[in-house]
C-alpha cells in the first residue's frame, strides 16, 4: 500500500515552504528517523525526518520548488503490510481503531464543529449573609484574622499556615500569634525568605489536597511569587479541564503602611482582580475580616486576601458566634444615603464614612458601599445604589490606571448608564511611586478632602474641582 509524504508544517504559522533539497532518491529504502529533505520555512531551514518506512517510489516535487502548500503530497513510499497502520491517513482506513480509545474518553463520532453562541460567564451563586443581631465582642482586626485561622484549623486538619516569621516569631505583624503553640510546627511553618518557592510549594500542597494559607509578610513580596499565583494557582482548573482546582489562600497586608516608601507601599487589588481564576477579597471591619477569611479558607478556589497593616489594630464589634462566616462576592452598604454613592474597600471605607459624615453636615446624603470582595465584584449592590442616588464616586488607594474604580465605572456604564446624572468620579492613589517624605506621602494617598471634592463635583456643588 502506498504511503503519501506530505509537505509538513514546521512552525505554528507556516502555510507554505520551499523544498530546498531532497536527501533521498527514488528507489531508496527508508527507515523511520531517516532524513528525507530540507525544507525552508519563513523562519529557518529544517530537515524533515521520515516517520513511515518503505521504499521511495515517486518524488513529486523537484528540489528548489517554492511555495509548496503545507499538506500537499511531495513523495510516495511503497509500504509493506507492517506499516499499513502507520500511514498518515491510517485514520481514514481504519474505522474500528477508535475502539482503542479509553472508555472514559469515548466521544460519539462527530465532525469537529463550533457551536454558534458563546455563553456568557457563569454567574456564581452567592450564599446569603447571616443577619446578626445577637451579642457581639469587641476585637481588633488582627485578633479577628487570627481567630478565623484558628477556628478553621481546629475544624479541618488539612489547613496549615506557612510564611516568613509566622511561627516562632508569632507573625511579623502578630496576626498568627499563638497559632504555633496550639497547632505545632507541623501546621504553622516558618519558611526561608523564599516567596516564589513557598508560594509554588503551597500550590503543590493544594494540588495534593491540603488547604494552605500562605502568608506574605506583605503583598509587595508577592511579586516574587506572582508567577505561581497567576500561572499555577489561577489557571490550573481551566487548563485541567475542571479536574484540578487549587484551594489556597494567599494573605497578608496590602497597600500603604506608613512611610515605607515606594517598594513597600502598593495596592495589589487591581493586579490580582485582573486575572480570571482568582477571587480577591479585601475587608475593612473585623467582623468581615473574620467571616471572609473563614470563607476564603473553605473556598475551593485560590483566594487573594488583602489585609491592611494600618487596620490591624483597629477595633470593631464582631458577632459572638461560633462559626461566623461572610460570603465572598457580596458588598455591604455600610451607610445608607440618597444623593450620592461612594464605593470603597479596606482602609478607604473609613475615609469614605468620614467623608459621608462631613457631607451630611453640608446637606448631602451619601451612601457608602464597602465592596469587601473585589472579584467577583458585587455589581448588583452598586447598581441598585446608583439607581437610587444617580451619582457615583469610586475610591481606592491603588493607582488610577486600570484600577478597580475604572472597572466599576465601566460596569456602571454597562448596567445603568441611564441612571447617572453626572459622570462617575474617582478618588485614587496618585499615579506615582509612593514617596518617602511625610508630606509627599500624604499627597500621594487619597484623603477625605478629595472625596468631598469629588462628591461636590459629581453633584455639581460649589467647591467641586
Amino acid at each position: 500500500m502506498a504511503i503519501e509524504i506530505k509537505m509538513p508544517a514546521l512552525s505554528p504559522t507556516m502555510t507554505e515552504g520551499r523544498l530546498s533539497r531532497w536527501l533521498v532518491k527514488q528507489g531508496d529504502e527508508i527507515k523511520s528517523g531517516d532524513l528525507l529533505a530540507e525544507i525552508e520555512t519563513d523562519k529557518a531551514t529544517m530537515e524533515v525526518e521520515a516517520v513511515d518506512e518503505g521504499v521511495v517510489t515517486e518524488i513529486l516535487v523537484a528540489e528548489g520548488t517554492d511555495n509548496i502548500a503545507v499538506g500537499s503530497v511531495i513523495a510516495r513510499l511503497s509500504g509493506d503490510d507492517d506499516t499499513e497502520n502507520n500511514t498518515a491517513d491510517a485514520a481514514a482506513d481504519n474505522s474500528d481503531a477508535s475502539s482503542e480509545a479509553p472508555a472514559a474518553l469515548q466521544v460519539a463520532e462527530a465532525a469537529p464543529q463550533a457551536p454558534a453562541v458563546p455563553a456568557a460567564p457563569v454567574v456564581a451563586q452567592i450564599a446569603e449573609e447571616l443577619d446578626w443581631d445577637g451579642p457581639t465582642k469587641t476585637m481588633t482586626v488582627r485578633e479577628a484574622l487570627r481567630d478565623a485561622m484558628a477556628e478553621e484549623m481546629r475544624d479541618d486538619e488539612r489547613v496549615f499556615v506557612m510564611g516568613e516569621e509566622v511561627a516562632e516569631y508569632q507573625g511579623a505583624y502578630k496576626v498568627t500569634q499563638g497559632l504555633l503553640d496550639e497547632f505545632s510546627d507541623k501546621r504553622v511553618i516558618d519558611t526561608p525568605i523564599t516567596e516564589h518557592g513557598f508560594a509554588g510549594l503551597g500550590v503543590g500542597a493544594a494540588f495534593g489536597e491540603l488547604r494552605p494559607i500562605i502568608e506574605f509578610m506583605t503583598f509587595n513580596f508577592s511579586m516574587q511569587a506572582i508567577d505561581h499565583i497567576i500561572n499555577s494557582a489561577a489557571k490550573t482548573l481551566y487548563m485541567s479541564g475542571g479536574q484540578m482546582g487549587c484551594p489556597i489562600v494567599f494573605r497578608g497586608p496590602n497597600g500603604a503602611a506608613s512611610r515605607v516608601a515606594a517598594q513597600h507601599s502598593q495596592c495589589y487589588a487591581s493586579w490580582y482582580a485582573h486575572c480570571p481564576g482568582l477571587k480577591v477579597v479585601s475587608p475593612w471591619s473585623a467582623a468581615d475580616a473574620k467571616g471572609l477569611l473563614k470563607s476564603a479558607i473553605r473556598d475551593p478556589n485560590p483566594v487573594i486576601f488583602l489585609e491592611n497593616e494600618v487596620m490591624y489594630g483597629q477595633s470593631f464589634e464582631v458577632p459572638d458566634h461560633d462559626d461566623w462566616t461572610v460570603p465572598i462576592g457580596k458588598a455591604k452598604v455600610v451607610r445608607e444615603g440618597t444623593d450620592v454613592t461612594i464605593t470603597a474597600f479596606s482602609i478607604m471605607v473609613g475615609r469614605a464614612l468620614e467623608a459621608a459624615e462631613a457631607l451630611a453636615q453640608q446637606g448631602i446624603s451619601a451612601e457608602v458601599i464597602d465592596l469587601r470582595t473585589i472579584r467577583p465584584l458585587d455589581v448588583e449592590t452598586i447598581t441598585a445604589s446608583v439607581r437610587k442616588t444617580n451619582h457615583l464616586v469610586c475610591t481606592e488607594e491603588g493607582f488610577p490606571f486600570a484600577g478597580v474604580s475604572s472597572e466599576i465605572a465601566m460596569q456602571i456604564m454597562e448596567h445603568c448608564f441611564d441612571y447617572l446624572d453626572a459622570p462617575v468620579e474617582r478618588v485614587t492613589g496618585k499615579d506615582v511611586p509612593m514617596p518617602y517624605a511625610e508630606n509627599l506621602e500624604k499627597l500621594a494617598l487619597p484623603q477625605v478632602d478629595e472625596i468631598l471634592q469629588a462628591v461636590h463635583k459629581a453633584c455639581y456643588r460649589e467647591g467641586g474641582r
Binding site: 523511520s32 516517520v51 503545507v70 523564599t194 489536597e209 485541567s240 478556589n301
Partner: protein, 349 residues
C-alpha cells in the same frame, strides 16, 4: 518543623562512576517480562511522539509541541520502580511522562489536537495536562515552576503520612532558576520525600549546558543543602531503574530529598519549530546510533533469548494503540464554545 541540628553525613554527590555502583548494587538483569514491558513502554512513547510530530506537520497540532524522543529511558525506567500513589510533576516536555504514568494515549493525543476528548477538554494543550487519577500533576509551561510544586506534593505526602514520594522532573536549563534552590533548601530542611530528576539532555533550547551552567555537575547542585545526588546514564533504562530504586528507598525511609541527574539526549529540536542548528547532525546521529535506549534494550532482549517475532508483534500492538489514539484525537469534536467560560472558578461550592 523542628530546626535541623545535625544532619546525617550525606553522601557526596557522586561522579558518573557512581552509576556503575548503582548498577552493581542491583546488577541482576530483571526478568524478561520486566524487560519486555520496559521495551513496550519506551516504544509506545517513541511511536506516540513520532505520530505527534507528524500530526503537527499536518497542522492538526498547533502551538508549542516538545517531543521526548531520545529521552524515553528516563521516565520509563523511573516510573517502572515507582509505587502506585507516587506523584509526578514535570515541564512542558510532558507527553512521555503522561504515558509512563498510565494516562491513556487517546486522551493525551486528543489534548494535543485540542479536542473535547482530551485530558483537559482541549483547554490545556501539549504543555498543560493533568490526571489526578494517575497522580500526574502537570505539564507546566514556566521553566522550573514544577520544582516547588513537586516539593509541595511531597509536603502533602509527608503531611498525610501516606508514604508516597514525588518525582519532580526538570531540565538542565531549569536547574539554573532561583526557585530550584529555594526548593532544595526547603525540601532538605523539612526532609521532604521528593526526587529531583534533572533530565540533562544537554540543551536548554539552543543553549548547551556548559554555556548555561557554572560549577559542579548538576547532580552536585544540592551539595550545599546536604542533598545526595547521583549521575546516571539516562540512555540505559536499567541504570535508570537501579538509580531510581536507591533514590526512592532514600525518600521513602524519611531521609529527605534526592537528586538524580539523568544524562540523556533529545533527538528532535527543542520544539517543533526549532531547526536545531546549534548542534551537528553527526552529534545527533552518534547518540542515536550508539546510545539509543530502545535499540540497546532490544539487543539485550534478543541476547536474553526473546524471539524477534515477539518483538515485532509488540511493535505492531504499539502502532495500533497509537493509530487508535490518533483516530480518536482526530474524530473527537472541538470543545463546545460554552467551555470558554467554564472551569474558571469552582462554582456553587
Amino acid at each position: 518543623m523542628a530546626p535541623k541540628t545535625a544532619k546525617t553525613a550525606q553522601k557526596r554527590g557522586r561522579p558518573p562512576k557512581a552509576l556503575k555502583n548503582a548498577k552493581t548494587l542491583k546488577n541482576d538483569v530483571p526478568e524478561t517480562d520486566v524487560l519486555t514491558s520496559l521495551y513496550h513502554d519506551m516504544l509506545l512513547i517513541r511511536r506516540f511522539e513520532e505520530k505527534a510530530g507528524q500530526l503537527y506537520g499536518m497542522g492538526e497540532i498547533g502551538g508549542f509541541c516538545h517531543l521526548y524522543i531520545g529521552q524515553e529511558a528516563v521516565v520509563v525506567g523511573l516510573q517502572s520502580v515507582a509505587e502506585e500513589g507516587d506523584s509526578v510533576v514535570t515541564s512542558y516536555r510532558d507527553h512521555g511522562h503522561m504515558l509512563a504514568c498510565g494516562m491513556e494515549a487517546a486522551g493525551v493525543m486528543a489534548e494535543l489536537t485540542g479536542r473535547e476528548g482530551g485530558y483537559s477538554k482541549g483547554k490545556g494543550g501539549s504543555m498543560h495536562m493533568f490526571s489526578r487519577e494517575k497522580n500526574f500533576y502537570g505539564g507546566h509551561g514556566i521553566v522550573a515552576a514544577q520544582v516547588p510544586i513537586g516539593a509541595g506534593l511531597a509536603f502533602a505526602h509527608k503531611y498525610k503520612g501516606d508514604g508516597k514520594v514525588n518525582m519532580a522532573y526538570l531540565g538542565d536549563g531549569a536547574v539554573n532558576q532561583g526557585q530550584v534552590y529555594e526548593t532544595f533548601n526547603m525540601a532538605a530542611l523539612w526532609d521532604l520525600p521528593v526526587i529531583f530528576v534533572i533530565e540533562n539532555n544537554q540543551y536548554g533550547m539552543g543553549t548547551s549546558v556548559n554555556r548555561a551552567a557554572a560549577g559542579l555537575d548538576l547532580c552536585d547542585r544540592g551539595k550545599g543543602y546536604g542533598i545526595p545526588g547521583m549521575q546516571v546514564d539516562g540512555m540505559d533504562v536499567l541504570a535508570v531503574r537501579a538509580a531510581g530504586e536507591i533514590a526512592l528507598e532514600h525518600c521513602r525511609s524519611g531521609k529527605g530529598p534526592y537528586i538524580l541527574e539523568m544524562k540523556t539526549y533529545r533527538y528532535r529540536g527543542h520544539s517543533m519549530s526549532d531547526p536545531a542548528k546549534y548542534r551537528t547532525r553527526e552529534e545527533v546521529d552518534s547518540m542515536r546510533k550508539q546510545h539509543d535506549p530502545i535499540d540497546q534494550l532490544k539487543e539485550m532482549l534478543l541476547r536474553e533469548g526473546v524471539d524477534e517475532a515477539a518483538l515485532k508483534e509488540l511493535d505492531k500492538q504499539v502502532k495500533q494503540v497509537v493509530t487508535g489514539a490518533t483516530d480518536f484525537a482526530l474524530s473527537s469534536p472541538l470543545p463546545h464554545e460554552d467551555e470558554l467560560y467554564t472551569d474558571i472558578l469552582v462554582e456553587n461550592a
